[in-house]
């Protein structure tokens, strides 16, 4: 997903002279081809996230469209005021490309996990928050990002994530994708959590539980219309996110239901509880430990349906 995203920055830069790249201190060889081809629009500025965001703001004020890449947690926590004031207050078209969203960096511990990134980005006016499910979808998102107004936060998965998207389904920022038509249950997921939600839905189907999957790849602006259409049709909705339960997708769905007067069924939220992640291992291991893998999601659906069928 990261490689696709960065390669697309280069592609966009070829196409549009306004596109520039700003990185911190990324891996050796990152975007070498772009650096060779257009060195004047390639900036690698060191471990200084506050400065990088300010520089991106200044470039955007001069009419450029900066794509900024570094590790998600440093791109959100470290320079939050710069993101809020320099980017959001000025409503500048800066794209934050966040490597290792969620628990991708599981072996590296809590300093490197970005599990409240969507919550704190979502809280900022003018910010768009998106999390693609796989590399091809990342490509579609990146192509659309060029002319999207205002700042964007784009969360990456690990790389090599299973491909669940296809060309035919289309893609529009802010428009959720119905991956599976709802039956009794609707799973609402974002990012790579949608992959697990689809697996869970398939398993549940075998048990006679018909389960839809809504891929909410854009967490802000949230596709409230899709929720208003689909939620009244089901007995149970379950939100799934690789993110803290405070302020992410699940919160956004509950807010939309409450504020929009949507006739919603019971809603269950799956995510990371309000505590720092304590364990290491792999992303898969951590997802399973929080019940965010297919088995955990299926179990949550079964228990959620008890007494409702």
């Amino acid at each position: 997903m990261r490689k696709t995203s960065l390669d697309t920055v280069h592609e966009l830069a070829r196409r549009d002279p306004r596109v520039v790249f700003v990185g911190s201190d990324l891996g050796v060889g990152t975007l070498d081809a772009m650096k060779r081809e257009m060195p004047e629009r390639f900036f690698m500025e060191g471990v200084a996230e506050q400065n990088i965001i300010g520089v991106a703001a200044g470039l955007a004020m001069e009419g450029f469209i900066p794509y900024v890449n570094t590790i998600a947690t440093f791109l959100t926590r470290r320079c939050y005021e710069q993101v809020a004031v320099d980017l959001c207050l000025h409503k500048l078209p800066v794209r934050l490309l966040a490597s290792g969203g969620g628990m991708v960096y599981a072996p590296l511990g809590p300093t490197h996990l970005a599990v409240e990134d969507m919550a704190i980005m979502r809280a900022l006016p003018n910010m768009t928050v998106a999390a693609a499910s796989d590399a091809p979808e990342m490509k579609r998102l990146m192509l659309q990002s060029l002319d999207w107004p205002g700042p964007m936060y784009i969360r990456f998965g690990k790389g090599g994530d299973a491909v669940i998207s296809n060309d035919q389904e289309g893609y529009a920022i802010g428009k959720a994708l119905l991956k599976r038509a709802p039956g009794e249950v609707l799973l609402i997921a974002t990012g790579i959590a949608t992959t697990q939600a689809l697996k869970a839905a398939e398993a549940l189907e075998q048990e006679g539980i018909s389960c839809g999957v809504l891929h909410m790849h854009t967490v802000k602006p949230l596709d409230v219309e899709a929720l208003a259409t689909l939620l009244p049709r089901v007995k149970l909705a379950v939100t799934v996110e690789e993110h803290t339960l405070m302020g992410g997708l699940g919160s956004a769905v509950l807010e939309a239901v409450a504020d929009g007067g949507i006739a919603a069924p019971a809603i269950k939220r799956l995510g990371i509880p309000d505590a720092f992640v304590k364990d290491y291992g792999s992303q898969e291991h951590l997802l399973a430990s929080f019940g965010l893998d297919a088995a955990g999601i299926a179990q949550a659906v079964r228990s959620g349906l008890e007494g409702r069928r």
Binding site: V20, G46, Q50, G54, V55, G58, Q82
Partner: protein, 277 residues
């Protein structure tokens, strides 16, 4: 040895007094404001807008303008005074400073106030943005310059030094920082809160061409700001200033960094005091 403003309080000329009158007018309108922090800046903005920068008050977004960012946004009364004087907006708006419905807030906002390039107020944001602008202008092959005015307390922020490193690396000769070195930050004297010396050496170490001037000496400022560094380094002009300059009872007094609930009698005293300097 650098002559500091404190040691040489030369009289203010009529232009400098007139701009300070506009500051007091806004202060009167709002009943509050960062008086001390604004008065130390007056000659800097005066020289930039009168003598140094290319700009068009009738066309604030003119592509060929030089850019000025007031990074110490709390000094906005000085910026509002010069912008009103130049005709970016009517002087009458100054009397509505900080009031409901005005566009002249206690910190300047881009997109609201004609002539304001960047919304500031949170400290340490202006220099990184200025670096980005200068890089952008370089890509566009523009010869326009970018000026960023910062406070001495403000440069406690680490982001300033991140940006300084970056400006030095890119040899941004068209970027000029100004430090309003009035020696007083919010809590008190910089020597006690967070000493900055050796300040010129710090900037030099980051790759800047450093000039030190009496920040109220109009001729010295003109000379220091006239041209980018011939050797291609970003510039910094360390302006030794007097906080509250022009109102003797407010000069060098940390209590005048910011004042609220300013009484009409105090305003009258300010106008009167201004005539004595």
């Amino acid at each position: 040895m650098t002559k500091t403003a404190k040691e040489s309080l030369s009289p203010l000329d009529s232009r400098s007094r007139q701009l300070r009158q506009l500051v007091i007018k806004a202060l009167e309108g709002g009943g509050r404001g960062h008086l001390g922090s604004s008065l130390s800046l007056i000659e800097m903005v005066r020289v930039l807008y009168d003598d140094v920068m290319s700009h068009r008050p009738a066309d604030p977004r003119w592509e060929g303008r030089d850019r000025f960012i007031l990074s110490k946004g709390h000094g906005c009364l000085a910026l509002y005074a010069i912008l009103a004087d130049k005709g970016y907006f009517p002087e009458a708006e100054l009397t509505r400073f900080c009031r409901a419905g005005t566009y002249l807030g206690g910190h300047p906002e881009a997109g609201k106030v004609p002539g304001v390039e960047a919304s500031t107020g949170a400290l340490g944001h202006g220099l990184p943005i200025g670096v980005g602008m200068a890089l952008g202008l370089r890509i566009k092959q523009s010869a326009n310059r970018v000026f960023v005015a910062m406070g001495d307390g403000e440069i406690n922020e680490g982001s300033v030094w991140e940006a300084a490193m970056c400006a030095g690396k890119h040899k941004l000769a068209h970027l000029t920082a100004l430090v309003d070195y009035n020696k007083i930050q919010s809590y008190g004297f910089t020597t006690e809160v967070q000493p900055l010396e050796p300040l010129a050496d710090k900037w030099r170490a980051f790759g800047f061409a450093v000039t030190e001037v009496d920040g109220h000496d109009v001729a010295a400022l003109r000379q220091a700001l006239a041209k980018p560094d011939a050797e291609g380094r970003p510039g910094v002009v360390i302006c030794h200033t007097v906080k509250g300059r022009g109102i003797p009872f407010a000069e060098n007094d940390p209590n005048w960094h910011h004042k609220s609930k300013i009484a009409p009698a105090e305003i009258a005293a300010m106008y009167a005091a201004l005539e004595t300097v």
